[in-house]
């Protein structure tokens, strides 16, 4: 893998990031041209106060001056202050991110493992009842809106059966610490995590199944059996290894979307992550917060795509020596 290749990919990622920065800035300028008026509606402001507030929010000067200031601040990791809480956006995002990563990361891992196993099992036994059942389940879960599934699970397991909490990340009144607190949080995470895992599993299963189907037809698999390998060795060493290649690309991409993947589900379960932060920011609209969140979401995708691009040649020699 040449240096030229790596440099090329990194430059590409940077170019995309630049595009996102520019896009981000101008997009939000369109959202609300005069947030001061919106936010302080109904309050009588003197001109001096209004000017001061405008300056505080960084909305003075021409568009270009604002843009320059925006770029400068972003590069210093200053994403402004939230209109709602007046706290630095970076701090709010930093505080909410771990919850989302924990929730969506776990769900993605779970669905990935289960989905791939489902896909392999279905692909090997193509046309049998097992294949049909697994494929149908995958298609049905893929067609299900994730937040609706969350609503159903919440009603049944939390409200009706009381087995799980109905929302939030922990029981505020328990005062538990250490391991007990973690367990409490995990218990709160169970339902939303299950919801997302079920929602994601379909795609992994279907992609893996179709890769297996492609591989099963290949001559090299017959050759492996003819060489005297046991079926299981032939399958795992030759078939599955090759079939996993398309799935790895999918996995990397999915991790990129981890941060933004759970907006609606977090809302249903009141899970204090980036998703909830987004829906709350929408109500203002809390411009700096939305802008910051948007940037973080996009950056995460770009970084993981870059990672996938750089990783793939290691897995597939055909790309390495193209």
């Amino acid at each position: 893998m040449s240096v030229r290749f790596v440099v090329g990919k990194v430059l590409g990622a940077l170019a995309t990031l630049t595009f996102v920065l520019v896009f981000n800035f101008f997009l939000f300028r369109v959202v609300s041209s005069n947030p001061v008026a919106t936010l302080y509606r109904g309050r009588n402001l003197t001109d001096a106060q209004r000017e001061e507030l405008t300056r505080q929010f960084g909305l003075d000067g021409s568009q270009w001056e604002q843009f320059a200031r925006y770029v400068e601040q972003t590069l210093q990791l200053n994403l402004g202050r939230s209109y709602a809480t007046n706290q630095p956006v970076v701090d709010e995002i930093w505080a909410a991110a771990p919850q989302t990563i924990a929730l969506v990361g776990t769900a993605t891992l779970l669905s990935m493992v289960v989905g791939i196993l489902m896909g392999i099992s279905a692909g090997w036994r193509r046309g049998t009842a097992r294949d049909r059942t697994l494929t149908s389940s995958a298609m049905v879960t893929w067609s299900t809106p994730d937040f609706w599934l969350g609503m159903i699970l919440l009603t049944f397991f939390a409200v009706r059966l009381g087995l799980f909490p109905t929302g939030g990340i922990e029981d505020p009144s328990s005062g538990a610490t250490g391991v007990e607190k973690l367990l409490d949080q995990a218990w709160h995470m169970a339902l939303p995590c299950l919801t997302l895992a079920i929602a994601y599993v379909g795609e992994f299963a279907l992609v893996m199944r179709s890769s297996i189907l492609d591989v099963v037809r290949e001559d090299y698999l017959t050759l492996a059996r003819a060489k005297g390998l046991r079926d299981t060795s032939a399958n795992s060493r030759h078939a599955v290894r090759n079939a996993l290649l398309p799935s790895t690309a999918l996995i990397a991409i999915n991790f990129g979307f981890v941060l933004s993947g759970a907006i609606a589900v977090e809302t249903v379960f009141s899970w204090p992550g980036l998703g909830l932060l987004t829906t709350e920011a929408l109500r203002g609209p809390d411009l700096p917060m939305l802008q910051g969140l948007f940037l973080v979401f996009s950056a995460s995708v770009i970084v993981f795509n870059l990672f996938a691009d750089l990783l793939y040649p290691f897995l597939d020699p055909r790309v390495r020596y193209a």
Binding site: A15, P145, W148, T155, S260, T267, P285, S298
Partner: protein, 297 residues
């Protein structure tokens, strides 16, 4: 178009249809879709539109389960779920299809242009689609919807404008394959203009792929609309399955276990999305024989 070409296409279509008929899942999907489309078109005959407005439902019991109020109960303002469900189908289907149309048109134009003209055009357009692919869809859709205001037209626009890159990439790859085929070269050797080649050779061969892709984009559009509506970005004046879920959630239906309110809309979404997917996969199988079971190459 010469009649020979048309004859060939008609025959191919008939063959395709005969094949489609043998695909059980494809037929099931088609039947389910037909059902939902019928419901959407005949909504005024099947349900009472006036019952959608809270002012008209003051006589109805509120939070009534299906056992109390036929056939599907009422919501917190006494509006019957059944009528909302029937009229909701109109909006969900309309948005799904209209948004897909926009996405397909943009995607096909970009894809064909990039593939056909190559060079700078291709480089620029491909970069552009890549950029749009990178931006996470839901946040972008949220922001655009919040920016432009919640209305039917805007939602259609938002979903359409964010979904085109996938189509563009697919179409571009197909165009590149077609471009290399001999008959295109021959055509150009005969002095055919770019427009002629595009219209006579490229477009007709890209169409089947476009149709298959469209059928698989509609379910994504419908799922997106459902999510956006749930987050409060749908048209406040219209009922859609997603907006029903939003109403239910914010009215506290979950705590009250008023399952008759939020279970049916979700089931309808699943049914329609699944049906479109089945139809799309059946079309894909016809276009690419390798997907057929038992093909021995």
């Amino acid at each position: 178009m010469t009649s020979i070409a048309w004859d060939r296409r008609r025959r191919a279509f008939r063959r395709g249809w005969a094949e489609y008929r043998s695909d059980r899942e494809g037929i099931v999907g088609l039947v389910v879709l037909g059902l939902f489309f019928a419901v959407a078109l005949l909504a005024p005959l099947l349900a009472d539109g006036s019952e959608l407005r809270a002012v008209n439902t003051t006589d109805n019991p509120v939070w009534a389960p299906p056992t109390e109020f036929r056939p599907l109960g009422t919501d917190n303002l006494g509006r019957p779920i059944y009528d909302q469900l029937v009229y909701g189908s109109q909006v969900s289907l309309l948005i799904g299809i209209a948004a897909t149309l926009i996405a397909i048109v943009i995607g096909t134009v970009v894809g064909v242009a990039a593939g056909f003209f190559g060079g700078w055009t291709d480089a620029v357009l491909s970069r552009l689609s890549e950029w749009f692919l990178v931006i996470p869809f839901i946040p972008l859709a949220i922001v655009l919807a919040a920016t432009l205001g919640p209305s039917l037209r805007n939602i259609i626009f938002v979903i359409g404008v964010t979904s085109w890159p996938v189509t563009a990439r697919l179409i571009r790859a197909q165009v590149l394959t077609i471009k290399q085929r001999l008959y295109v070269e021959r055509s150009r050797a005969l002095g055919a203009s770019g427009a002629h080649v595009m219209g006579r050779h490229i477009l007709p061969n890209v169409m089947p792929l476009v149709i298959a892709n469209a059928t698989l984009t509609v379910p994504i559009a419908i799922l997106s609309e459902t999510t956006l509506a749930f987050l409060g970005l749908g048209d406040p004046l219209r009922v859609s399955w997603g907006s029903m879920l939003e109403d239910a959630f914010s009215a506290g239906a979950l705590g009250r276990e008023a399952w008759w309110w939020y279970l049916p809309p979700g089931l309808c979404v699943i049914a329609v999305v699944l049906a479109f997917t089945l139809v799309g996969r059946a079309i894909e199988t016809i276009l690419d024989p390798r997907l057929r079971a038992g093909w021995r190459g």
